[in-house]
């Protein structure tokens, strides 16, 4: 009887001592997870090896028409339109395939998703092409550095 009451007392003491910091830790963890995670659906990239650049910006994106510059190809709205390597070496600053594809979509805003190692010359050509196709609001989609 004595042994039982002694055990009960010790368990209660430990419980109170450990529960408060544990709840604090869990609360902090929940807040951290909520802050670092995104309510959007997971990103589906056209090529598995593609990695988006990191940024400290905080503007959450709303996906519209997306142009992807991946490691091998350039995609408009998920469909491959041309090869990346050809346009990387080309002297032309207007990517004709992307231009015609963007004109078919006939929208005003477009998002660009690029692999982090894509040279700026190709990104600049793509941005110029979108501008020439009549797109006024051009934004780049990147991964927030506060992601998990």
């Amino acid at each position: 009887m004595n042994l039982f009451s002694h055990r009960t007392q010790r368990t209660n003491g430990l419980g109170v001592a450990t529960l408060a910091p544990m709840v604090d830790i869990f609360t902090i963890l929940v807040i951290a997870v909520l802050k670092a995670s995104s309510p959007q659906a997971p990103v589906v990239l056209p090529e598995g090896s593609m990695e988006l650049p990191l940024s400290n910006q905080e503007n959450i994106s709303v996906e519209h028409l997306v142009v992807d510059i991946a490691k091998e190809g350039i995609y408009v709205d998920g469909f491959r339109v041309t090869a990346r390597e050809y346009w990387e070496q080309s002297e032309d600053i207007l990517i004709s395939e992307v231009y015609s594809s963007l004109q078919q979509h006939a929208k005003k805003d477009v998002k660009i998703r690029v692999d982090k190692d894509v040279p700026w010359s190709l990104i600049s050509k793509t941005l110029h092409t979108a501008q020439q196709a009549g797109y006024e609001d051009i934004e780049m989609l990147v991964i927030s550095s506060s992601s998990l």
Binding site: V23, V30, P53, Q57, N59, D117, S124, V142, S144
Partner: protein
């Protein structure tokens, strides 16, 4: 309470997306456009031109009437070897004209997306240049 948290945390980890996608607004210079100053302060234009060896920071300072739409300007330029010294120089330029929030950036063809995004971040978030205009590499 702890049991509730034990259930809540794994559930959150399962249902939320760990990759937060954000947007970087891009302002592009017109391919054949002429420069029209919209800012009437002492510094008419600031530009950063990346080179193979570093950076060239250029500043057009008005010599005469600062209220004129396009003044008689003097070009000052500095050659920098790294990005930190560019930021330090831009900080000094901002002290001359704190109202100038527009800057032109011209990366080289060799710079990659991550590098340029890093520049945009530091210009927009650290130095409050709200309007960063990207120019086509030479």
């Amino acid at each position: 309470m702890a049991s509730l948290m034990m259930i809540l945390l794994p559930t959150l980890l399962m249902v939320t997306n760990p990759q937060k996608i954000v947007t970087v607004p891009l302002s592009l210079s017109q391919a054949s456009g002429t420069f029209t100053p919209t800012h009437t302060g002492i510094v008419e234009r600031i530009s950063i031109i990346a080179t193979s060896t570093g950076f060239l920071v250029e500043m057009n300072v008005r010599k005469s009437d600062v209220l004129a739409a396009s003044g008689n300007t003097e070009l000052k330029s500095w050659t920098m070897t790294n990005w930190d010294s560019v930021l330090a120089r831009l900080g000094e330029i901002q002290k001359i004209d704190p109202e100038q929030h527009k800057i032109y950036v011209r990366p080289t063809s060799e710079h990659n997306a991550q590098t340029v995004i890093g520049w945009l971040d530091s210009l927009q978030l650290n130095l409050t240049f709200e309007n960063v205009v990207l120019e086509h590499p030479e």
